[in-house]
Structure formats: C-alpha cells, structure tokens
Symmetry: C2
Amino acid sequence: MVGAKEALVVFTPSGRRGRFPVGTPVLQAARSLGVDIDSVCGGRGICGRCQVTVAVGEFAKHGVKSRAENLTPFGAVEEEYCKTQPMDAGRRLSCSTQVLGDVVIDVPSGSQVHRQVVRKAAEAHDIELDPVIRLHFVEVQEPDMHDPSGDLRRLEDALEFEWRLTNLACDVRVLQHLQQALREGGWKVTVAVHGESQIIAVWPGFREHAYGIAIDVGSTTIAAHLCNLATGDVVAAAGIMNPQIRFGEDLMSRVSYVMMNPGGEKEMTDAVRGAINELATDVAQQVGIPATDILEATFVGNPIMHHLLLGINPIELGGAPFALATDRAITLWAVEIDFHIHRNARIYVLPCIAGHVGADTAGVVLAERPDLSEEVTLLVDVGTNAEIVLGNNKRLLACSSPTGPAFEGAQISCGQRAAPGAIERVRVDVATLEPRFKVIGCDLWSDDPAFAAATAATGVTGICGSGIIEILAELYLAGVIRHDGVIKGELAARNPRIQSDGRTFSYEICKAGVGTSSIKVTQNDVRAIQLGKAALYAGVRLLMERMGIEKVDRIRLAGAFGSHIDVKYAMVLGMIPDCALDHVSSAGNAAGTGARIALLDQRSRREIEQLVRRVEKIETAVEPRFQEFFVEAMAIPHLTAPFQRLREAVTLPERTVIHNESSARSRRAARRDPKADIAP
Amino acid sequence: MVGAKEALVVFTPSGRRGRFPVGTPVLQAARSLGVDIDSVCGGRGICGRCQVTVAVGEFAKHGVKSRAENLTPFGAVEEEYCKTQPMDAGRRLSCSTQVLGDVVIDVPSGSQVHRQVVRKAAEAHDIELDPVIRLHFVEVQEPDMHDPSGDLRRLEDALEFEWRLTNLACDVRVLQHLQQALREGGWKVTVAVHGESQIIAVWPGFREHAYGIAIDVGSTTIAAHLCNLATGDVVAAAGIMNPQIRFGEDLMSRVSYVMMNPGGEKEMTDAVRGAINELATDVAQQVGIPATDILEATFVGNPIMHHLLLGINPIELGGAPFALATDRAITLWAVEIDFHIHRNARIYVLPCIAGHVGADTAGVVLAERPDLSEEVTLLVDVGTNAEIVLGNNKRLLACSSPTGPAFEGAQISCGQRAAPGAIERVRVDVATLEPRFKVIGCDLWSDDPAFAAATAATGVTGICGSGIIEILAELYLAGVIRHDGVIKGELAARNPRIQSDGRTFSYEICKAGVGTSSIKVTQNDVRAIQLGKAALYAGVRLLMERMGIEKVDRIRLAGAFGSHIDVKYAMVLGMIPDCALDHVSSAGNAAGTGARIALLDQRSRREIEQLVRRVEKIETAVEPRFQEFFVEAMAIPHLTAPFQRLREAVTLPERTVIHNESSARSRRAARRDPKADIAP
C-alpha cells in the first residue's frame, strides 16, 4: 500500500502538519508529529481512545482541500469496535484509518491525553489532565527454551517497543502476579505505569479504566472523590465522619489524648485508616468496581490529621514551636498506611506548610493558585483554626489563627449539626424585632402559614453554623446587639424575645412548642463568635500589614463553613476585611479540589511543592501585633457607608445569597455526616 | 591559629599532597585533597574512625622532613576518646590534630572508607569495601517559632552541611520515629544513609556500628553471615535446615507440591521467611544485638528458592520453557518479605540468570569473577542440578545440568548425611582389594588398631557424599569396577567383599558388627553416580564445544559438595574435564561469598547485573549435542597417562587432599543440619 505518493496531513487544533506516504495510519502520522492523541491499546482498535474526525472542505489557511474520501473507508476494525461501544457519526479510529490524500484531521478534546478538565463554577481554574498513571495494552513475546529471559524483561521489551517506555522499575508485588497475568491473558496484558517509570499493575487482556481517589481528611469529616484517571471525571463521591472524634472533638483535644494516653496516636491512626478504607469501598461500590481497582490516591489534611494518617505521633504539633515531622510532600505505597486499594497503589500526600498550616491549605493554594494573578487574593479556610493565605504573583503569606470551635458550633448553646430542623437562614425585622427563619429540609420561611405543617416531622431543633453568623448579623443590624456585642436588655420592653438570663440577656428565635424546646442566642454565644471572628480578622490583618496592603482584591472562603455562610453577614460581623461584595465568594471544598488536581495532573505536584516553599509562614503566637489586632477586632464594626448599603443588600430576597452548586454538594455530604457542621 | 604560614601535608599511601595554613585539622586537609579517611562523627572525636599516624623522617621522594612535633600535641579530645577505646601508640585522631609544619601522614587501611576486605584462602579476590549503608553523626538545628520548617528539613540541612549529602529521600517509616529520636538525642543523632540517597534510620545520639546480613537460601540449607558494614568483618554465621524440606526433598518435588496443592507456594514462602528470621535472630544474638539492628540484607538462591522467597509462584520453573518471573536483580524493603530486621532495611536479591541458573550462580560468578582473566575458568556448583559457568574475559557461558540427587546421596543405598560415623575417606588396596576408611569424627584409619575403640560411640553408619565419589574411584583404580561401571563379579573369588546380589554384584566396605549393619556399594549405586557424573560432564562439554575449546585452564568447585570431595577422585571418575591438578580447587560456599560481596561493595551490584546480562545461557534440554555428550560420558574414563600419574597421587598420604578451612567451616555448618549433605 505504501508507495512513492505522499499526502499532506494537518491536525487541528494543534496545527501540526506533515507529509506522509499514502497508507500511513492517521495515529502513526499524529505520533510522528507529536500530536497529542490518546491510546491504551496501542493501535489495535480496541480502546477507542484515538477517535478523530476529518474536517471536510477547502482550508486556505492550511493549503489543503480535505475530503472524507482521502481516508480509507470505515473498515472492519472500526465496525468491530462499534459493536461494543457506540461511536459518534463522522468519528474514525485513527489507528485503523489510513491516509489516502490530503486531509485536515480534528482531534477532539476527548481524544487528547492532556486536556482540560472543566471545573465547577465555585472552583477557580480548569484542571490540566496529566495523570501519573497510564494504561498500556501490549502483546508480550512468549518465552521459549532458546531465550531464557524472564517474563518481566519481555514485558519491558514490549513496553519499549510499543510505547517507548524505558528503564521501568517494577515492584515485587507486581512480579508476584506477573506470570499468571501473562498466561491468563494469552500474552496480551494491560499494564499500569506510574510516572512513566514504574510498573505498578499488570492485568490479563485489555483493560480500559484506571481509577484514582482524592481524599480530604478533615478533623470532623473525611471526604473522598473517585476519579476516572483517563477522563478526569469524578465518578463517585462520599463523606464520612472522622472516627477520631471519639478521642476528642477538636484537634487539640486529640493531641491531649495522645499526651494522656501513650500509644493513643496508634488508636487514632488505626481509626482514620479504617475510615479511608470504608470510604474507598463506598465510592468503588458506587461505580461497581472493587476498591482494589483504585491505583492512586492523594491526600490533604491539616498537620495533625496528616501526621496521624501517616502514623507519626502528632505530639510535637501540640505545643510550641509546633514542629512538623516534615514539610515535604510524601510519596509512599498504599500498603504503608494500610490502605487497601490496589496492592501496589501509590499515595501522594500534599506538603504541610507549617505546624498549623497543613496539606489542606496546600490543597487550597493548588486549587486557587493565588500566585497566578497580580490581584491580591485572600484565602480563608475556617475551622477550629482558620488557615489564612494572602498574596499574589509576587508574594504569598500564610498563617493560622486560633478561631476556636465556635464557628463549628461547639460553644454555641443551641448549636447543632446541619440536619433537617436546623435553622440556617434568619431575618429580623428592624421595626418589630420579630424573626423569621428557614430550617434545613424546608423551603418555606417560618412566617409562612404552611411552615408548621411542613416542618412537623422534623421540628425546629437548633441553629446550624451558617445560621449563627446570620442571626448575629441580623440582630446587630436590627439594633438588638450593640457594637460591643452586648445584647440590649432594655429592648426586652419592646419584644419579649429579649429575655434576662440573670446578669445578661438572650434573644429567643423560636419558642418552645410541641416536642421542641426554646431556641435562643445567649450573650455567651455572641461572645464566643466575637472571639472567633476577632482571631480570624486579626490573622488576616497581620498578613495584610506584613504585605503592606490595606485592601484585598478578592476573597475566597474555603471549606464547609465558607460554603454555607452568607458572605455578606460575615462582612457585617467583621469576620473578613472590606472587599467589593462581588469579589467575595465561596471556593467550595478547595482543599479537596487541590487533592483532586494533584491526582489528575502530575505536574501540579511539583508546582505545589515549589509553591509552598515560597510561602512566607507567619506564626501568630509570637507576633505582638496579632494580639493588638485581636483586641481591636473584638467589637462588631460600625455600619460605615458601604455597610449601610450592605444593610439594604441584607434585606433583599434570598437570591443574592451565595449558595452555589458546590456548597449544595458539600451540604449533601455534610448531611450524611451526623457531626459535619455543628455539634452541640 | 590560622596564619599566613602554610605547611606541606603529604598523605600516604595515596601520595596526595597540598599546602595548608598552619592550624588546619588533618582530617580537613585530607578531605580537601580527596584522601579516603573514614569518619562517622564528622570530626567530633567520638568515633575514632579517622585515626592516622605521622611518618617521621626525611622523605626525599616527597621533599618533606616530617616530624611528630609538626602536629599539635595529643590533646584533650584524644585523651577523652582513649578513655573509652584503646588507641595504638603513635595513632592520632586526624579530626582533632592540627598541622603545625610539614608532615607525611599515613592513613592506615582501617581508617579508609574504601578498603580491601581480605578473603579466605579458598576464595578468590579480596572484597572492595564500599557498603551501601553509611552512618553519619549530625547535630540538627532546633525548631523555633520563627522557622516553621519540618524536623526532616533541618535534618537534611545538617546532612548537607556536614556531609555534603543532598537530595535525600526519606521513608515514612523513618519519619514516624524522627521527632522522638531528635529530642531523645538532644538534637544529636546518627543517621543511616542508603546509597547516598535515602535516609533509612535515625537514632538518638552517636551510634558506631551498622550491620548487614548475607543469606544463601539453598534448597537444603540456609546459611547466613552477619557483617559489620564498616569493617567488612563477618561477626557471626549460622546455618539452618530449609524448612521447605517438609514439602519435598528436592526442588522439583517442591514445585510438584505447588502443582498438587494450590496455595502451597504460600506455605513454602512462609516457611523460608520464618527460617531467615530465625537465622537473623541467631546471628544477631551471637554478637549481642537485636535483629532490628540489621540494616541491609542480600540474598542468593536458585531460581525456585528465589521465587519462593519473594512470594512468586515457582510453577513456571517446573516445566518448559522454565520462564523466570524476572532475570533482574531486585531491591525491596525487608518488610516486603516479612523479614523482621530493621523496619526500614533494604533487601538486595542478586539476579537469576536463567530458569535453571539462579542468583546462587550469579553469586558464584561475583565471588569468582571468571570474566577478569584471560584464563578459561570452569565453575561448577553441584546439587540436584549442577550449575556450570565457563568462560574468561571474552565470553561467559552458563548452563544447568540435571545431575539428579545421587551426589546428594538420595539414591545411594548406604548414603547418609555428613555426621559422625559416616565414611568420608576410602582407600582400596590394589593387591588385596581390601578397603580402609575413615569416618567423620575420628582421625584414625579403619586399619588402625585403635579405630574400633575410637569409633565405638558412633559406629560406622553409612557413606557421606564425598565418600561415595572416593570409594567408586578407588574401586575403579583397583580394578573392581570396569570402565563401563560394572562391578566385576569374577573378583568375588579373590575377595569375599565382592558379593552377588542376584543379577549384579556389590562391594562390602564394612561388615556388619555390633550395632552396625553391613555397608555396601551396589551396582545401582554405581549407576546412579554414573548418570549424575555423565550429566555434569555433558554440560561442561556442551559449554566447551560452544566456546570452541578443548581444555580449561582452571576449575573451581563451589558449594558443599565441591568443598568436601577430593577433586582427584572427581577427575578419575570423569566428572570434570582434564585439568592440571593444582588448577582444580574448591571455591568454598562461593554463592554465599557472592552475597557477602554484594552486601559489602555496592558497586559490585551493578557489576554482577551487567555481567549476568553478558552470560550466554545454554538450555541443555534443547541441545541435541547434550544427549550425545551424555551417552559418551556414561563410562568411566580409561586411565590415560595423566590419570596413570594420578593413580600415584591417589595413593599418596592424605595431606594432598584439598580440605581447606572454608570446607571445614561448611562441614561444621552442615553438621548443624540433619539433612545437609546426604539423606538416605
């Protein structure tokens, strides 16, 4: 077939072009030009990854008159493939299609190895797909008496010949199953290669899918996303309560547990490892695969979660100078953390940044990439500690601020987890001081006549995290709470919801009813939130001062708390600095997104490792200015002009509330977890 | 102290020289010249590894008048060191001694990092000491609030600053104990670094010794040598029966066990791993350390032992085409083979060469290095199969020959293990056809009047491996056995020891006595040995023909069998080709020596890996010439002129018998093992 005649082949969108002898397979032409076309089966017409379309017409730009007839007709291999998998009209398998004349070939994004994975609205940039694991289908030479080379060597020869992979390492755990796989597959096997350097799995025959899992180990919730490594798609997600909670609700109480109970770190390590195994089984079941099909995992978590997951005693993180065992990224085998995914899977743990600024923050930085813009971005991830990152393409600063457990509801009298019946939205009428509210699980406001019936099943049970912020801000805007945080007892005369608790006053949102006790905000609740928000704001101010700026261009709130609160109210309370409201947004579970990026794009690992080295770490505990800022920030800000305008915004209908898809998803995850949002 | 004045310092034996400011420590001068001086403590006067002596006198060659006073006087650091460890007169700690004037400094071999480890007479070359594990004592910067870097990073900084080690990897298992070690040691720790690239252990404070273990996994016996990695000394040795014997005496019966009992390979893997753990504990106890102090291990073994140790099903090695899982060397963690030495120890398994030519043969090749000489060396390791390597610096060939179990005594009627009471030396009088013999455990010949009393406790119980060869050769030389192997029945008339068994005859060496039954050599015994020696010789001939030679320059017999037999008799029987008798010798346990070399000299690993790739592997089973040679070799050679001279040698007193220290050691090891040599 190959003759002296040549044809011009132009690939789009890359624009690469070359002349090839008539009869050259399109895939081969693409490869010789370095055009990015995927293939697992190596041109055998099995995997269908190398699909292209011919662009028909006269292309002056390319100087080509491209015609469908300039490719060989749809052939037997393609027909065979179509029997198992439908193919879009006009699509061709580039491995099984040969060039007959000049053509322009379009490589759709789904056929590219390296492509963009589109992220959700709440997230920042698309993900470059460049997974560390690739599958390769090969035919291996059978052994014979005259060639005593080992099976592994012949497998390596095949990988070199068909895929140009050289100097591959191979673990003993692969070797243990290699011979059986080769014989079971009739010397045709699919090989998973890690980082173009290490054979990590061999299966008999053709195998299409490789899976990876990205896990965010939070102190309260552990969340996992299962991804198809070839497409970048999240194919399953699940959340689970961190079972370490039984050793202590917050991080410090877990470290205390270790201090009081030598060996306690082992119990907590076992607990978290048990949980990640449960999660892996869960997400795998959702797509009908065994957990052992998962070939790669990435992890983020705060330093204490990070250390406990890895079996490192976190005791040094419990006291000054808060020394991490390591601030490097860690690559290890799944078996080393008793993670029962594929027996030879690798784990990548993102680097911690400092003793209080963990791999979760590294994940946030990787998801948000504040270093890519000249704009100054403030990233805030609120938990018992708030991790704060501030910076742009010139400087990056980070610190952790001890906000305490109030934002997680731990010190709020009527606080509860985000579950049906919990108050999540509140409005207080300035004239009457009467509240109306919405509870999770019901779309009606409490002043709707149908509300009682609609919530009869759940009742009104407490206040969830976002509800606390909203009610305090509303009470402040309504004048019930003073600038210094005191609930004005004198208003008891105007509305009986303002009630004396002895020395202080409280505000009753919901009266006791059938099966429901009274739900109040007490003076102590206000104080707890004030302490938390002062700490958060002081941390932010410290970084701003260090960077020499008075204003940030953009604020991104990460984590469950950031996803649920209405940022306007956070600004009313002075939790975050002044910023144009449309430049404040939720980043969703940015830490988890960072883990997912590290899973899907191997180059991102080197990027975040270099990036965290550049971050200037500020230790709030040794900065006298932090104390000053903290004291200053205790009060609730006066309603300056922008805040006065905000007052209007607050009374607007709910559609202005930032409550995106991502937060809804997190909320769903949270609901699976009995302690995810607020615990009493 | 450092002034403008400079002094000339010459180091011997390297001859390196340089001018240094007065006041320069000798160690520092040596390092800046690249002189090979050891140190673990980094110049703190703790380890004593950097000892030197000053060569006093006028050295015209160097142009130096060297005087002891040209070094600072014996100082406080040296006196402190001497309190814990005696130092030879004239020795100085080069780290704590400064140059005051011109000197010639001698670096004794014990102070060199890379030095020769002298091997025993039976072994070939000395070992170059270059252990893959080195210890480094460092002081690590304490963490503080203003430097949030992890402990690992500060440890790495110290290793870079003090030892110029960069880009080190660190396993999670080290991280798990790092923080405690640093604090326990007051920020002074000893670090074990593997291959200048990987931190594998960190201990609080100063630690002097690093240990490694070299293990030869034989199908019958497993032998271990514990080495001090800094000196290269074997500090303990032990042997143990391979517990896999309960699954089958020989290799093929073990493979059959797997075929008949699915999962049986796991049982055998567990068994051998149990045994190596027992051995490690044994050798460690001998020097009073826990097995967990062993930081590195190397292994040799035949392909089936190799696969079973690694947890690879050996079933493919049980039938044609005898495909190995891999013919590469393997590096893995001790935990991966359940080897309970140091939790982060590495294992190096030498490469197998072909399906029947294993890592044990690679060990023999590494120990003997036939590739370094122009002389053609024949290496033979006899067991149920004989592994044969032939070659020189131009070519190397290898094959395995199915000698059967006769040389191990399995098909010999009165065969027994090498234990007190077993006949090991025999002489047959040509005139009278009367035998005299010696048994293990007694130095007297059986015709000594005191023999009966001396052996009363053990009796005479059977014939051990070397005894079989000797008795057959003696009977042949005495004319009792014919060229074709037939025992001459007609001689029954001359001596009643030649007895009819019906169709064939036997020769009675020892008559039944009190508590002792008659010990005979039967016609079947002769046949079994003939089959074995014909296979061995045919293998050798095949390689010789392939190499195009008629004569070998040197023969080295490796393994227990090779250590015990008298090579003259092996030549009389035609087991090995004609060769000058003084060029035939035992190589001792060369496979084990190879493992020890790989343990002590990391460069040797790359050497043997490259060497085995060069070996031309010949599969005897598919070579028609092998069958021809085999048939030809069944007969016992006619006594040609050289053999006639040999006849004289045979009758010489026993001192000509090659029975060196190494073989005596192997014999001792064998005695610990009830099945090591011959099993009935």
